[in-house]
């Protein structure tokens, strides 16, 4: 096993699938020679050639349409949207077209497309780069949305995404790209889509999070531990479809929950998670389920990020409110 950062694990996942399946194609803006602006596709063009790993003209809708058309001729496109804030340029191809491919052809055609994109705050990008737009795509039936929080998960989930017969939006938090290393097997392995992971066991409260907020939640759990509270941290990993079984099992065990997301309160996934808990486990609850989110403003300019983004202290504080209810 090798120690890998999340971005290395992502590259490794693409390398593995390019090797395993000749129908896999990797393309997008600057993914070829440059290896992607974050180097996620570093070395892949050299290894697999320009036929399979290639740069496209700069046009997101074109890239999305290209992926749909390629899938119609039997390919498995792994397309990159350079930054997820550019989603709006390609939203028709993603939500309006790829997502409905199976439905609109009575199940005859499908769009086995993986849509990779960096997103997430705390790295001082310009406007329209960091925004958490997962809620927009997750609200579209026909798409699966995956957001890994560790290198190990990223590789296993990305391989599953590429193998999946449906369009999968795979969001990579920029802050997690190189923030830590982890043991990652060099061979192929998969983590099923739609399965959450209990990242830390606990008995007093469940903290449900995804993406970079998993790391913040783990920090919060440690702080809570010092105060004598045992927090369980559930990493959703796939935000559409949700793993309600794991969520409910944890809530039924701890009887208290908070949901954490980097997105604004009115966006993201947290509201969905709360609804599922209310419908399925309300009688297990000893306290209302609270959310930790960013405020409902437009994503701030770079210097404002750190005052805006939710963090471990916010999570600890909210958890305490629920524990003290």
């Amino acid at each position: 096993m090798a120690q890998m950062t999340m971005i290395q694990a992502i590259t490794d996942a693409m390398r593995t699938e390019l090797k395993n399946d000749e129908n896999v194609l990797v393309f997008g803006e600057d993914v070829g020679k440059n290896g992607g602006v974050f180097r996620a596709t570093e070395g892949l063009q050299k290894e697999f050639g320009e036929e399979r790993v290639f740069d496209t003209p700069l046009a997101e809708s074109g890239i999305g349409g290209l992926a749909i058309g390629l899938s119609l001729t039997g390919f498995r496109p792994v397309m990159e949207i350079q930054f997820f804030g550019f989603l709006f340029e390609v939203i028709d191809s993603v939500s309006g077209q790829a997502a409905r491919q199976s439905f609109r052809t009575a199940g005859k055609l499908n769009a086995p497309i993986t849509i990779r994109s960096p997103f997430g705050g705390g790295v001082a990008t310009p406007e329209m780069h960091a925004d958490s737009l997962e809620g927009i795509v997750a609200s579209q039936p026909g798409i699966k949305v995956v957001i890994p929080s560790t290198p190990y998960d990223a590789k296993g989930l990305l391989i599953s995404a590429i193998k999946d017969e449906n369009p999968v939006v795979f969001l990579e938090h920029m802050k997690l790209y190189r923030s830590f290393r982890q043991e990652v097997p060099e061979e192929e392995y998969t983590i099923p889509l739609g399965k959450a992971d209990v990242k830390r066991e606990g008995s007093d409260i469940t903290i449900i999070a995804y993406g970079a907020m998993v790391q913040e939640s783990l920090k919060a759990a440690e702080a809570l531990e010092k105060d004598g509270h045992s927090a369980e941290v559930v990493d959703l990993r796939t935000v559409q479809p949700l793993d309600v079984e794991t969520i409910i099992a944890s809530v039924e065990k701890t009887n208290r929950a908070i949901v954490v997301q980097e997105a604004q309160r009115q966006a993201g996934i947290a509201a969905n998670v709360v609804s599922e808990i209310m419908e399925r486990a309300v009688l297990s609850l000893e306290a209302p389920v609270l959310r930790v989110t960013a405020p409902d403003t437009v994503y701030p300019f770079a210097q404002g990020e750190n005052t805006w983004l939710p963090n471990a202290a916010d999570i600890t504080e909210t958890a305490k409110k629920v524990l003290d209810f």
Binding site: L25, E51, T56, P57, A59, S61, G62, G64, G65, L66, A67, I68, G69, L70, S71, L72, T73, G74, F75, P77, D92, S93, G96, Q97, S102, F103, R104, T105, A106, G107, K108, L109, N110, P112, P141, G142, K144, D164, E165, N166, G194, Q240, P241, L242, D243, V244, E245
Partner: protein, 371 residues
């Protein structure tokens, strides 16, 4: 400060020079006479007759579809009369394994590519089995989003190229479609990759009610292809021979590895945009209508074929009767389609295992629908 006009720096002149180059390509004139002998694609007698049959059939299908729509027996319908040459003659240049990515008005091409008529009716009615495509039928269901098929066609074309297939993809949009971003992205991608795509712009003069003159400052729509670096041609879209010849030429170029072509077919839609409510008398006059009717593709092709002793009233009536009978049968067949169930919808939502939410709802609706 205004720039001095000279040969080195005169962008206005450059534009005019390009625009002047776009003469309308025509082979068969309004009187049914060949006016461009050199370009005549020299179709065989059988081919000429078959193309005429398809156009007549489509005119009848249009008339019947409008009537059926008014009777409430069809759903969404976008009339095609006036566009027969543009639609059928361009399709006639394709082979069975070529792909078609149609706009919502391009149902006749799908039918002649192999989509059973009753399925076209089911699609119109909003039945999911209307797009339950047969294996090997290389089409997409009609696209509703203006221009989306253009970027997808670039992808199909690249796929065919990567597979080393001797096939092309043809996609259609209208004059309004050329204002969409996807139009530019699609032609630019296919041009950049030199992929085997044929982009047809059916300039039927109106995007619902917005006339071509309000759509763009460009003198022709064909010239928009020049910006993407791809061969582009303006064709008399009511001349079946010219449309066929231009498409055949584009197909050959695509198969030779010379990339995509843009074809603007100058035509006219006699009817409303769709049967869903727009009223053409609000935005055009009967004078304009009759002006265009003089150029009718079926009338001119009939004159041409009659002079060659390839067509007769009797023959045309045969086609009309056959069309009517087939339409009747197809409507009957469409009537027999099973009632749609929510469980059907849930089943086709995803490939493979149902996500938990879909599975839960599938169980709920299975129970509901069993009652």
């Amino acid at each position: 400060m205004a720039a001095k006009k000279n040969a080195q720096f005169d962008p206005v002149n450059t534009l005019h020079e390009i625009e002047e180059k776009f003469d309308m390509f025509q082979i068969l004139n309004e009187d049914g006479k060949i006016v461009n002998e050199e370009a005549d694609p020299k179709l065989s007698d059988e081919e000429l007759t078959e193309l005429m049959e398809r156009m007549v059939y489509t005119r009848i299908l249009d008339q019947r579809s409008i009537a059926l729509n008014r009777q409430g027996r069809l759903g969404f319908y976008a009339p095609t009369a006036g566009q027969e040459a543009s639609q059928l003659a361009s399709h006639y240049a394709l082979e069975k394994d070529d792909f078609i990515l149609p706009g919502y008005r391009d149902v006749p091409q799908l039918i002649f590519h192999g989509l059973p008529l009753h399925m076209a009716f089911l699609w119109s009615r909003g039945h999911y089995l209307g797009s339950d495509l047969a294996e090997g039928l290389n089409i997409f269901p009609p696209q509703i989003i203006i221009g989306a098929q253009y970027v997808q066609a670039a992808g199909v074309a690249l796929g065919l190229q990567k597979r080393g297939k001797k096939n092309v993809v043809m996609t259609y949009t209208g004059d309004g479609g050329t204002s969409q971003g996807d139009f530019y992205e699609g032609i630019n991608f296919a041009g950049a990759f030199r992929s085997p795509a044929i982009f047809v712009v059916q300039n039927n003069q109106y995007a619902i009610s917005t006339p071509r003159s309000v759509q763009t400052a460009a003198k022709t729509l064909a010239q928009k292809g020049i910006a993407a670096g791809i061969p582009s041609i303006l064709v008399d879209g009511m001349d079946p021979l010219a449309v066929y010849a231009a498409t055949k030429d584009a197909r050959e170029r695509a198969l030779n590895g010379d990339g995509p072509t843009l074809i603007e077919t100058m035509c006219y839609r006699y009817g409303p945009h769709t049967m869903a409510g727009d009223d053409p008398t609000r935005y055009r006059t009967s004078d304009i209508d009759s002006e265009w009717e003089k150029r009718d593709p079926i009338v001119r092709f009939r004159t041409y074929l009659e002079a060659k002793n390839l067509w007769s009233e009797e023959k045309e009536n045969e086609v009309i009767e056959r069309a009517k009978q087939e339409i009747k049968d197809a409507i009957k067949q469409a009537d027999q389609a099973p009632k749609q169930k929510v469980t059907d919808f849930l089943k086709i939502m995803y490939k493979g295992d149902m996500p938990y939410n879909v599975k839960e709802q599938f169980d709920i609706y299975t129970e509901k629908e069993s009652k």
